[in-house]
């Protein structure tokens, strides 16, 4: 259990640094595609994490992102929405008998279709909320929509590839 906590903290810290130092510097197609991969850390929280803790973690992750890339409140708000919805989506797609203690929200543990659905829904909500909060205008509606869809796809693809890179079936228990 302490190992799980430590691994999650390290993962979140690493992803935030990766986001700010590497991913934010890459903007394919003049910023049309903007993956926010740091939310991977929230999606990977174990199923048995209490909901209030998911919210607190979401708040903290968002706040740190705001500190690193301003304006205040933007990522905090989007991450809170994500952290609120994450257990609900998990519940929606749970097996009939519920999750087993050894299961984790990973491709290896739950299978690719489950993971893609789970990640895509949550990422879409997070990105949509984030982009509309940031832009707050509907003039370029279709451009914004394309922006959200492309970015969501990029984030989900990167997160899925990341899982294959990092996790073998042996250490997927964390």
């Amino acid at each position: 259990m302490p190992l799980t906590i430590l691994i999650n903290i390290i993962r979140i810290a690493f992803l935030i640094l990766l986001q700010c130092l590497v991913v934010n510097r890459m903007q394919p197609l003049d910023g049309l595609i903007l993956p926010w991969i740091y939310i991977f850390g929230i999606l990977m929280l174990p199923f048995e994490t209490p909901r209030w803790l998911v919210l607190v973690i979401g708040f903290s992750v968002g706040w740190i992102m705001d500190l690193l890339s301003g304006p205040p409140g933007l990522h905090t708000s989007a991450c809170l929405l994500l952290a609120f919805l994450q257990p609900l989506v998990q519940k929606l797609f749970s097996p009939r008998e519920g999750y087993e203690v050894t299961q984790r929200p990973t491709v290896q543990s739950m299978g690719l279709p489950w993971y893609i659905t789970y990640a895509a829904i949550l990422t879409f909500f997070h990105h949509t909320w984030l982009f509309f909060l940031e832009v707050l205008r509907f003039s370029d509606f279709f451009y914004q929509l394309l922006h959200i869809i492309m970015s969501t796809a990029a984030t989900v693809i990167l997160m899925t590839i990341g899982q294959y890179l990092i996790y073998t079936s042996k250490n997927s228990q964390q």
């Binding site: 130092l21 910023g31 409140g73």
Partner: protein, 284 residues
């Protein structure tokens, strides 16, 4: 009472979510842009360190390019020294002594620690703060091209509002004409900006140079801004619709110079005096 407690117990996650979300949205919408920059100020000293570390690493790989650019700029500046000038018209009066001229603008160098490019309102962080003489509203340039305006300052770091910010405005003109227009950034590509309010009678062609007019409080006259990229004039309007390619490449920005106008306090106090007089003469 027990019912209320029971309700809170059942919905405490949702309540916690509402409270935190309310706080986040309050922080997001309560501040104006300058205050947002203040928020960055408080976090700057430690986020600045993280970004410095990244920049140091990155810079190591492009030292060659930076050296080239610096030596080019040195060469250009050296060639402007008075002893490198040849006097071709001896009869003409030419001021040479420096008693006739005093220093107006001071340039200080700074190093870019972090740039955002993908937002509606972007910011730039530089490694010079109030200890290094940085003040709010100073202009920032790089290799003679305008970059932005200092929007907030901490002890060791400063945040610059670049051209790539929805609130950024600067007074510009076409080289070779006196009519001035307004530089603004419409969002999207970090290389392209708009020039508005240049009247149609001013001839503008693709490739023309755009420079600062000198009417703005932040930049001296004749600083490079960019080149006309495209013209999209509408017959019913009186002004050109000009898209320009900015001469500052924000993706490669490493070193910038901050401009201090030594006569700005004097100008400001004069303006305030006039405005105070107007207020007395025309009480509403």
């Amino acid at each position: 009472m027990r019912n209320i407690l029971g309700l809170i117990q059942r919905f405490y996650v949702f309540l916690l979510f509402l409270v935190l979300q309310g706080f986040a949205l309050f922080v997001l919408f309560e501040n104006n842009n300058f205050q947002k920059a203040e928020f960055l100020t408080h976090s700057k000293d430690w986020t600045g360190k993280i970004y410095s570390w990244r920049t140091n690493l990155k810079e190591y790989w492009i030292l060659d390019e930076i050296n080239d650019r610096l030596s080019l700029e040195n060469a250009i500046l050296r060639s402007r020294l008075p002893e490198n000038m040849l006097v071709i018209n001896q009869d003409q009066y030419r001021p040479t002594s420096d008693t006739g001229a005093v220093q107006r603008y001071i340039y200080r160098d700074a190093h870019v620690e972090n740039v955002t490019l993908n937002r509606e309102s972007n910011y730039l962080m530089i490694n010079r703060g109030s200890i290094g003489g940085l003040k709010r509203s100073m202009g920032v340039i790089s290799n003679g091209s305008i970059v932005g305006i200092v929007s907030s300052v901490s002890d060791n770091f400063g945040v610059v509002m670049p051209i790539l910010h929805s609130k950024f405005r600067a007074s510009v003109r076409m080289k070779g004409s006196r009519d001035y227009g307004l530089l603004a950034w419409p969002g999207g590509s970090p290389e392209i900006a708009d020039v508005r309010e240049i009247p149609k009678h001013v001839p503008v062609e693709v490739g023309d140079t755009v420079i600062t007019s000198g009417f703005s409080d932040y930049f001296p006259a004749d600083m490079m801004v960019g080149y006309v990229e495209s013209l999209d004039d509408q017959p019913e309007e009186n002004f050109h619709r000009i898209k320009i390619r900015l001469s500052t490449d924000y993706r490669k920005l490493e070193y910038v110079q901050v401009i201090e106008d030594l006569y700005k306090p004097e100008q400001d106090s004069l303006l305030q005096e006039v405005q105070a007089l107007d207020a007395i003469n025309n009480p509403h």
